[in-house]
Amino acid sequence: MSATTAVTWSRPNQQPNWLVRLFDWKPFLAFACLLPAAGLLLVFLTYPLGLGIWLAFTDTTIGRSGYWVGIENFQYLLEDPLWWNAVFYSVFYTGVATFGKFALGLWLALLLNNHLPFKSLLRAIILLPWIVPTVLSAIAFWWIYDPQFSIISFLLVEKLGLLSSNIDFLGSAWPARFSLIAANIWRGIPFVAISLLAGLQTISPSLYEAALLDGSTAWQRFRFITFPMLLPILAIVMTFSIIFTFTDFQLVYAITRGGPVNSTHLLATLAFQRGIPGGQLGEGAAIAVSMIPFLVFATLFSYFGLARRKWQQGEGND
């Protein structure tokens, strides 16, 4: 025992070699630690972002580096009815799907916030649509929306007798648009519900107790306690949801590929179609870049519109 203490005492006298000392020098260590992440992000995120904006002002095609053409690509897009159609559907898709996701997700979160048996199992099951690859569940929806063998049509026509003929889900513009929105809502509910559930669980029960003593109704408790306390989390989740719904690609590409007659193109699918199979990289990049103003606007709107306020944080915090 005494021998080991003696050894430990002698340790500070050993001079560590220069490499160890270099890695213990804080500025170098911070630099070295940040290097892999910063390197990856600068090379594969920041640089492509700038390159994309540059490409949008050139006439690059696959296999030929382009020349600077100024705003020609954007002028062309402004006269292109397909681009306007994609803008309209992207906004419509984002608006309706976000509303649906948040209405249903909030409802589900409120339901899950009650005392329930098998609560953790239930949460695990509910997250499943969010875990499974989007394209694979989109294929399941594609089969559910089949014009001839759709199970929804079968239920409505044969079993319930509500309709006389099968629904043509993906054959014409508006049904196809709403079918895609329904699939997107289905996929988005779990994430919204589980995030909002986390927010609900941070609300102190004493607020509800005080309100109960004051004789509030259930609606008043929701309107004046739950909803305002939930707003900060709602703002973050909504920012994410809007950004990733607006730039959605997988669902539309898997189910309709922009059809019928280009009516369900989102900006992302249109950019892909023009850029990769079409080969017009410059024009595709211009379409992709035209998403940026919408994204910035949506982010600012949902962030500042629903921004956190001090009283929502509870006392002393922030």
Partner: protein, 302 residues
């Protein structure tokens, strides 16, 4: 404090005793209608596509296209034909291996770099570290749909086109910001005093990271790993844009581009492929669901 806790209970029990017997039954029925019924609807709707996928994958073709004679919601005579076709007549096993390799490599690459970055931002506290944190948060908000065209030209010029390495290198663009964000939150919850003690005892900072911080951060690392794995398994647009030859495709892309051919869709094989492609993620996720949910909700709360 105890008064506050007792008071509402007392108020409730008063209310309960004041009400007649029928009211108790009424509230039970009401709970049924307002709670369990909507919840059951949600669960059924959220799970139905998976059920339908499974049922379709094991149905023989005769049943698949005939709802009149067979009950569409049940399998009359289950068959493994679709799965056999998938495994032996297509390159499906190969696609699975490619996807698995890409997902695992991308996960390790991004876990490694984001652990170091999160440690530097949260623990070394150099000047301007919060701006680096903010920049990484903003990087997460850049969606892949904007980046895939310039990345495609880059990948082509680097000579990585049609190689899984292109995916391994580009997936960290969305994995690293997310993992770093998650791990910063996790490191914050580890008491700083532990590191101070080690510093006083003469440990170097790398020793502290390896022997104190990392072992304590294992749950955070696990959940970041699961997130990265599922996100890279699910990735679609990069894999679609950068990979051309059939054998290098990942499962989601290959099912959509290789199995969908001609006018007659092989629904049985498509559904079997989707089911098999979803299984690894679902199994992986089911082991770690608690980590997953808690870190998801923790990340949102930050």
């Amino acid at each position: 404090m105890t008064d506050a806790a007792v008071l509402p209970e007392a108020a409730q029990s008063n209310a309960a005793t004041a009400q007649p017997e029928t009211m108790a039954w009424d509230s039970k029925a009401r709970r049924m209608v307002t709670l369990y019924l909507p919840l059951a609807c949600f669960v059924i709707i959220l799970l139905f596509p998976f059920y339908w996928m499974t049922v379709t994958a094991f149905k023989p073709n005769a049943e698949l296209f005939d709802y009149k004679t067979y009950n569409p919601f049940w399998i009359g005579s289950p068959t493994l034909d679709h799965i056999k076709h998938l495994l032996f007549n297509t390159a499906y096993p190969h696609w699975l291996v490619t996807t698995m390799t890409v997902a695992i490599c991308a996960t390790f690459l991004s876990l490694f770099s984001s652990t170091l970055a999160a440690y530097a931002i949260q623990r070394l506290r150099f000047k301007g570290s919060q701006y680096v944190g903010l920049a990484i948060y903003l990087a997460y908000l850049v969606p892949p749909s904007i980046l895939f065209i310039p990345l495609a030209t880059m990948v082509y010029r680097l000579g990585l086109f049609d190689s899984p390495l292109a995916l391994i290198l580009t997936y960290p663009t969305f994995l690293v910001p997310f993992c770093t964000w998650l791990l910063i939150g996790y490191f914050k919850s580890i008491p700083y005093e532990l590191e101070e003690c080690a510093l006083i005892d003469g440990a170097t900072r790398l020793q502290i990271l390896r022997q104190i911080t990392l072992p304590l951060a294992v749950p955070g690392l696990i959940s970041a790993g699961i997130f990265s794995f599922t996100l890279s398994w699910n990735e679609f647009i990069y894999a679609l844009a950068f990979i051309q030859s059939s054998e290098n495709k990942t499962v989601p892309v290959a099912i959509l581009t290789e199995l969908v051919s001609g006018d007659v869709y092989q629904w049985g094989a498509l559904m079997a492929g989707s089911l098999l492609g979803s299984l690894p993620v679902a199994i992986f996720y089911s082991f770690f669901v608690d980590y997953y949910v808690s870190s998801l909700t923790g990340a949102v709360k930050e």
